[in-house]
Symmetry: none
Subunit: 181 residues, 2 copies
Amino acid sequence: MPPEADKKTATDDLDVRLVRTARDETGPADAPDSTSEQPRADVGPLSRMIGYALRRAQLAVFDEVIANFAEIDLRPAQFSVLVLLNHRPGLKQSDVAAALGIQRANFVVLFDGLERRGLARRTPAPNDRRSYALFLTDAGKAMLGRASELEAKHEARLDALLGEGGRERLLELLERVAKLR
Amino acid sequence: MPPEADKKTATDDLDVRLVRTARDETGPADAPDSTSEQPRADVGPLSRMIGYALRRAQLAVFDEVIANFAEIDLRPAQFSVLVLLNHRPGLKQSDVAAALGIQRANFVVLFDGLERRGLARRTPAPNDRRSYALFLTDAGKAMLGRASELEAKHEARLDALLGEGGRERLLELLERVAKLR
DNA sequence: TTATTTTGTAGTCAGCAATAACAATTATGA
DNA sequence: TCATAATTGTTATTGCTGACTACAAAATAA
């Protein structure tokens, strides 16, 4: 089984692909796997490295956010655009991209998705025919409202984990680290 | 000069507003940040969200790590494998993948790269013909040595940013967050 | 033995970031 | 004023990474 292997690709027709919606499980009876708590494998020196710890934490948080937003089909990056545009309407693409740390080239596709779904729109900028002023549509604002509710619950859960003053301390430390850039 | 100029729904004139960045914010209000590196654009509510802050910090750290490791052509994920294998030689693929939070399917390609470069090797597992026991080669240990030096400098730089006790507090908080998983 | 689980693989797909190259538009400066 | 440089939005490409499906071989449970 390891190496070797025969070609045998072919067969690839059905493509069911279920969307994995967090929550719920094998409902009735049983549930053999007791409340699992990960053993947290020993990774040695890695556990002392900031980068490694950051990555693990970030993936954990994003996993949950993505699962939470699955029902409204919104990605974290899209959410951040909605929040920013609601906070500062009329920014142009370069501004939003820069504020979020996204390459302006990549932002185009990201925003196309929002516009295609009618959540945001491009408007000709008043003084510069090269650029657009970006705004949320009413649908976008409604979407942001729902997303914010989900987000609030998520943040509350994090606060429970972080404990008293944990959020403040964490945000402060993360901001320092981000200064590296 | 945007592409088509089709949009332009007749009745659309309102909304000229000048957009002023509401500067509520916590902390020392304005202060035309003197010697700060970046203007740190105002992203509003985003700056209070753990996920956003985590992502920014993680990207900043990885950017630097990737740049530091560029000269030895090593990716963070590869580095983590070297560290783990040096710490616990003989693990099988499933173990390493699980410990690092990588899908075992994806780990195959990752390890192939290390093996191809002669940094690590697969050895038939003693009691299980299905699996391999993984080890670093001498070249792999040498590579890990150089990488560790670069990593140490990086961590030192982070410590300078984090200040006294900063690392401990940050690691502790990140570990709690990672518990989400 | 038979059924189930584990392990390693291959392949596909999606998200996201970095880059290069362009055309239209502004800004600059001599 | 006009040639040149810088901006802005765009397209396309590449690479890393993570998630999933499907498989075959081997180990384990029933």
